[in-house]
Structures are given as structure tokens and as C-alpha cells.
């Protein structure tokens, strides 16, 4: 079995996925919504990257743009998406269709509804193999692979011939992960993989995901609004605000010392069980309306360190240390420790 490869120029050093200056808008009745603005990041092979942000900050939009599953009113206005060196945005519809799942697969938010109720789970997983495996698998081969996947994610292989409504929520989520692996993709995008689940199951799924990543050496992009979840399983953390990537760097580093005011404020507003007792510093205000975003830095209206320059000029995403980039004019003002109490 051989999965169709993209004709990229790959080597062990180049990142498996590189996004450069991606711009995407939605055309609505009220005007253009700037959903993704100049976003750039790269995902090294075998690593996981997390995208964190409030609802509506553009993280799901990025995921859909990468897969090219956007709605009809979306406009990709610029940028490149290099999967193993190949720009996905330049591909024709049919070529992209062949890449989907085979090279780049996705685990959707709310896996409960990802399953078609009238076919068995096994049939729906097999469907991906029938489409993308060349040559097509025999029944035995497909079944063997599905069983292997189920064992990997911790589902009883007997359930292969059952219908989705016979699965519990957590099982459905695991099955979706199994399906995402069916064609051995290069990258998996997991959009809020645990949001719809209760806390205990959440933990189980996260453990599974970490296991899979380690065993298979998968490159994964995680998307979540829950920074705690992301912190647990990602190697690299990217923080998004109002369609822009404001900070990206190794997860441990970003957590230990957030450099962007937004990240700093978010972490300050999160209580810690082990850390020192302190009053929480809430984040004032609301995210901006993307129909008419603020001039200059999009965060400046809510930023305690904002200066006049921030309202006039948008800060570019610049590397300040190895693998750690910030988009802020005044990042040096951000204190080393987290905030105590109201500012």
C-alpha cells in the first residue's frame, strides 16, 4: 500500500508544514470580515503545534483554509501553505481532493456529528482507504488496518461493524482520530478535540493523542480555546488574537515567560494550583469586530502597555529568540512574573 505523495522537496530538516503570510476574508452582507491576517508559522516534522485564542480569533478559519474547505463566501487573498514543500493553495480542486486525508487530515470539533448515521463506522473508515489507497485495499486489508487503528486508540475492534449511534461520545471521538490516521497522513489538524467531552474523558483522549504522536511520530496541529489542554500536549504554542498570530514559540518557554501582553494577561487570569496565591487579573473589554478592526495593532485598545505607536502601526511578527516570535512594539515592558491583582 502506498499513499499518494505530494511532489514536494522534502528532507528531514524542512518543516513538514509551513504557512506564510496567509490572508483570508469572508464576504458578508455587511462587508468584508478580516478573519485571518498575515499569519505565518511552521510545523517541524514529528512535532505538535497548538493554536490558542478566544472564539472568533480565526483559529478554525486557519484550519479550514489549510484543508481548503472554506464556505463559498470565503476569499483567500494571499499567502502560501507549503505542505512538504508543495503549495496547497495553488492546486486545482481535483488535485486538492486527492491530497485531502491522504496528506492532510482533520479531526473536527464535535466528533459526534462527524459520523453519517446510516453507515457503520467501519464502512466510513474504509471509505477513506478506498479513495486514497493505491491500489485499493481488499476487504481483508481494510479490515486489518481498521482493527489496528482501533487498537491504537483504544476501541474494541468488534465495534467496527456497529453504527455511530451505538458509540459513546468518547468512543466516537477516538474513532474519529482513528479515521484521521487511516491513510497515514503527513499532518493531522485537531480542532477542539476534547471540547465536547466531560473532563475525565478529556484526559483519556489527551493521553491517547500524546501516545499516538510519540508512537507514530505524527505532526499535529491542535486548535483550542482551552490553554490548559494545549499546554499539555503541544511542543510549540501559537497565540492568536483577532485574526493575527501574536506570539509563537516553544510551549514551555511561552508558559514560563509570556512575552506578548495578550498572552501575559491570559496566563495571569488563569489560577494555578501549585503557584503562589494571587488575585486574578481579568482581561477587560471584548475582541474587536473584524468587519472594522482597530488601526495599528489589533490588541491596542485592551493593552495595558499600549503607546501611540501601537494605534498607528501594526507590529510585525518578529523573532526575539530561537524559535520564539512576537508581534508587539513594547514587549520589553511585559513583566517577568505574572500580574498580581487588578492593574
Amino acid at each position: 500500500m502506498e499513499v499518494v505523495e505530494g511532489d514536494g522537496h522534502s528532507s528531514a530538516e524542512t518543516p513538514i508544514l509551513e504557512v506564510r503570510d496567509l490572508v483570508m476574508n469572508y464576504q458578508t452582507k455587511s462587508g468584508m470580515v478580516s478573519a485571518v491576517e498575515d499569519v505565518s508559522f511552521s510545523l517541524p516534522r514529528g512535532k505538535s503545534l497548538g493554536l490558542v485564542g478566544e472564539s472568533g480569533c480565526g483559529k478554525t478559519s486557519i484550519a479550514l483554509t489549510l484543508m481548503r474547505l472554506l464556505a463559498n463566501n470565503a476569499r483567500i487573498l494571499g499567502g502560501q501553505v507549503l505542505l512538504d514543500g508543495e503549495n496547497l493553495l495553488e492546486l486545482g480542486a481535483e488535485e486538492m481532493r486527492r491530497r485531502r486525508w491522504a496528506d492532510l487530515s482533520m479531526v473536527f470539533q464535535g466528533a459526534m456529528n462527524s459520523w453519517n448515521p446510516v453507515y457503520t463506522v467501519g464502512e466510513q473508515i474504509r471509505e477513506t482507504m478506498d479513495i486514497h489507497w493505491h491500489p485499493k485495499p481488499t476487504s481483508a486489508e481494510a479490515r486489518a488496518k481498521t482493527e489496528e487503528l482501533f487498537r491504537l486508540v483504544g476501541i474494541n475492534p468488534e465495534m467496527i461493524d456497529r453504527y455511530p449511534h451505538e458509540f459513546s461520545g468518547g468512543m466516537k471521538q477516538r474513532a474519529v482520530i482513528a479515521m484521521a490516521l487511516a491513510c497515514d497522513p503527513k499532518v493531522i489538524i485537531a480542532d477542539e478535540p476534547t471540547t465536547a467531552l466531560d473532563v475525565i474523558v478529556q484526559e483519556q483522549i489527551l493521553v491517547e493523542l500524546k501516545k499516538i504522536q510519540n508512537e507514530l511520530g505524527m505532526s499535529i496541529i491542535y486548535i483550542s480555546h482551552d490553554i490548559a489542554v494545549i499546554a499539555e500536549i503541544t511542543d510549540i504554542l501559537g497565540v492568536m488574537y483577532a485574526g493575527k498570530l501574536v506570539e509563537v514559540g516553544p510551549t514551555t518557554e511561552v508558559f514560563a515567560r509570556p512575552r506578548h501582553p495578550y498572552t501575559w494577561l491570559i496566563l495571569s487570569s488563569t489560577p494555578s494550583i501549585t503557584g503562589p496565591r494571587r488575585a486574578l487579573a481579568p482581561l477587560e473589554g471584548e475582541p474587536p469586530n473584524l468587519l472594522d478592526p482597530p488601526t495599528g495593532c489589533r490588541f491596542h485598545p485592551r493593552c495595558p502597555f499600549a503607546t501611540e505607536k501601537c494605534s498607528e502601526l501594526e507590529p510585525p511578527l518578529e523573532e526575539i529568540s530561537e524559535g520564539h516570535a512576537i508581534a508587539c512594539w513594547n514587549y520589553e515592558q511585559v513583566p517577568v512574573t505574572l500580574a498580581r491583582g487588578v492593574l
Binding site: L69, S105, F108, P117, V118, R126, D130, I131, H132
Partner: protein, 387 residues
């Protein structure tokens, strides 16, 4: 599954019992005595009583009711007043196949056309085609049916002369024919039945096979086999084909007219059902999986959109049966519907009751088949039904 069917059958039998009783009492409630219309008043009183006794019209109403119902279930529907001494059962028996023919084809075509058009319309939104077909569909849905039937006859039969104006067969063609109309018609039904078996076999095999292109092959194979069987059957019959063809040409216009009016409802509903289904998450997932567009439309979306359509089809059945009655009358197609109307007009009570009861049976059986179909199609229900 079998338990489910058995349970439904019992329910149907009970409903039918209710229906039959209601019909009986309804007819008893009519003003005037039935017997007075058919008995010559000069017959002496005792003899009248005798005749009444033989027809089962004496005795208390409960007696009559029980007699009627139990006789019905035993297959004895009484003797026709207007076609004396033919029994109601034999009159109806002659007519049933013709109505079944009309009903089955109209239902099948209306469904296939309605569903096929509806799912395509929902898939490609907008454009002149969608507007036009929707308007056309609604027009056909609301048009006054007998009038529409007359217009169809005027256009295709009178003006263009493509089809005969009415009736079951053309008398001139059949002069001196070695077979009766019914014999040829039954052969026609037989050939269609065999062809249907092939199609069903193909579909059943397709269900078992999980690999999609093999399944498609199985389905197509079924259709091809059916077509071949039809050709072979009639080639063997030789001369009978000319007569069969005559009957077919008479059936064309009634079937098409009824189909046109019946398909619009299904089409409109399929379209809305598809639009709802297309919003579901699993459609996005299918697209993410790289499933080709046509398969998303047919294999994923249409299959789910099908379910509410099948449910509402039950309403459609009643509509087609009622429409069938009108069709038979206007087109002169000698089926049960025409029988019902004629019997009512001449006030042949046993015949009218029998025809109405049979139409009820047809409705119930059709309903049962659709119920079973629904259970087969929706695995969520199937598992419940199996418990």
C-alpha cells in the same frame, strides 16, 4: 425484523377491521331502504322477505354487520346488484390488476423522478433551472387534476394523435384475437414481475457488498438483466406482443398524467430535506475525507435526505390512490377506481362497498410496505425494531 412485520400486520388488520365496520355503518345510515330500490314492488311480501333473507338483509343491524365483516375476511363480498349474478369478488378480481398496474407504475415513476430531480436541485442551488423546475413542480401540484387529465388527452391523444383517447384496448385491433384482454394483461404483469425480481436481486446484492464500485456493478447488472428478461419474454410470446403493445399504448397516458401530478410533492420535499441534510457536519467531514462530489451528493447526503421523504410518502400514497380513481374515470381505464364511481352512481351497494374496502386494503398494504422500507433504510430504527 420479522417480529416487526408481524406486529405491523396485526395492527393493519385491526385498522382494516375498524375501517370496514365504519364503511358498513356508513352505508347503513343512508336514507331509504336499500332493498326498496332493487325489489320490484309487485313481488308478494313473503317472497320479498325471502330475497332479503338470501341477500342477508334481514336480521338486526349487528347481525348484518357481523355477517358482513366475517364474510369479508373469508373472501365473500356478496353479490353485485348491478351485475347480478356476478359476485362482487369476481368483478373486483378482474379489475384489481389493472388498478395495481396504474398505481405501481405511477408511484414508482413519481418517486424516482421526484427524488432524482429534488436531490439534483438542492445540490446545484440557484440558476434558472432551479426556478423553472420548482415553479413547474408547484404548478403541477396545484393544478385541477381532472381538468389537467382532459388537457393531456386533448393535446396528446386528440390533437397529436400519439396515443389512444381512452379505454383499455382498441376494439378493432382485437377482433378475432386468440386471447382475451385479461389474459394478455396478466402476461404483461408477469413479465414485469420477473423484471422487477431481477432489479430487486441486484439491489439486494449491492447492499451486501461494501465496496462501492462492485455495488454499483451489481445494481446495473440487475437493471440489465431485467431489460433482457423483458425482451426475451416477449420474443417468446410471438404474436401476443401486438396485443400487449396495444394495451401498453393505452396505459401510457394515464400513467404519465398521474405521475406528473404526483412527483412534484416528492420533489419539493426532497429538495428541502437535502438542503437540511447538507448542513450537517458529516457532510463537511466527507468533503474533508476527499470524497468525490457526486458521492457526497448521492451516497452521503441523499441517503439521509431520503428518510423524511419516505415518511411523507405515506401521505403521497393516499393522494395517488385518490388520483388513480380520477385517472381511471377520465381515461376510461377499467380499474377499481372507475368501478367504485360507477357502482356508486348506480347505487350498487355491495359492489361499491367492496370496491371501497379493497381500496382501503391497497392503502394499508402500501403503507405497510413503506413502513418496512423505512425500517430497512434507517439503522437507528432498525436496531430498535429488532429488540
Amino acid at each position: 425484523m420479522l417480529k416487526f412485520i408481524a406486529k405491523r400486520l396485526v395492527q393493519m388488520a385491526f385498522l382494516f377491521f375498524l375501517f370496514l365496520s365504519l364503511v358498513f355503518f356508513l352505508l347503513q345510515a343512508q336514507p331509504g331502504d336499500i332493498s326498496s330500490q332493487f325489489l320490484n314492488p309487485t313481488i308478494p311480501a313473503e317472497v320479498q322477505q325471502q330475497i332479503l333473507g338470501r341477500l342477508g338483509l334481514d336480521g338486526s343491524i349487528w347481525n348484518q354487520w357481523w355477517n358482513y365483516v366475517s364474510n369479508f375476511f373469508a373472501g365473500n363480498l356478496g353479490v353485485s346488484f348491478s351485475q347480478y349474478p356476478q359476485s362482487v369478488m369476481s368483478v373486483i378480481g378482474e379489475r384489481v390488476p389493472r388498478t395495481l398496474f396504474l398505481f405501481s407504475f405511477a408511484t414508482l415513476f413519481a418517486y424516482v423522478l421526484g427524488f432524482g430531480l429534488g436531490k439534483r436541485l438542492a445540490w446545484k442551488r440557484g440558476g434558472l433551472g432551479e426556478y423553472g423546475v420548482t415553479i413547474g413542480g408547484v404548478l403541477l401540484y396545484t393544478i385541477f387534476y381532472p381538468w389537467f387529465a382532459i388537457l393531456m388527452i386533448l393535446l396528446f391523444a386528440s390533437t397529436l394523435g400519439w396515443f389512444p383517447i381512452s379505454g383499455f384496448l382498441t376494439v378493432e385491433v382485437w377482433r378475432g384475437a386468440p386471447w382475451t384482454g385479461n389474459e394478455v394483461f396478466n402476461q404483461l404483469l408477469l413479465s414485469i414481475g420477473i423484471a422487477t425480481l431481477f432489479v430487486v436481486a441486484g439491489l439486494l446484492v449491492a447492499r451486501r457488498v461494501s465496496e462501492r464500485s462492485t455495488a454499483r456493478l451489481a445494481r446495473r447488472g440487475g437493471y440489465v438483466a431485467a431489460a433482457l428478461s423483458l425482451v426475451g419474454f416477449w420474443m417468446m410470446r410471438g404474436e401476443m406482443w401486438t396485443y400487449a403493445r396495444d394495451i401498453l399504448s393505452h396505459s401510457f397516458l394515464p400513467v404519465v398524467t398521474l405521475t406528473l401530478v404526483a412527483f412534484a410533492g416528492t420533489m419539493l420535499l426532497t429538495r428541502s430535506s437535502m438542503l437540511e441534510t447538507l448542513r450537517e457536519d458529516y457532510i463537511l467531514t466527507a468533503r474533508a475525507k476527499g470524497v468525490p462530489e457526486k458521492d457526497i451528493r448521492d451516497h452521503h447526503a441523499a441517503r439521509n435526505a431520503l428518510l423524511p421523504v419516505v415518511t411523507s410518502f405515506i401521505l403521497g400514497l393516499a393522494f395517488i390512490i385518490g388520483g388513480g380513481v380520477v385517472t381511471e374515470t377520465v381515461f376510461g381505464w377499467p380499474g377499481m377506481g372507475a368501478l367504485l364511481l360507477n357502482a356508486t352512481i348506480v347505487e350498487d351497494v355491495p359492489l361499491a362497498t367492496g370496491a371501497l374496502a379493497f381500496i382501503g386494503v391497497l392503502a394499508l398494504v402500501a403503507h405497510l410496505l413503506v413502513d418496512i422500507l423505512y425500517v430497512v433504510l434507517d439503522p437507528r430504527i432498525r436496531i430498535q425494531a429488532g429488540k
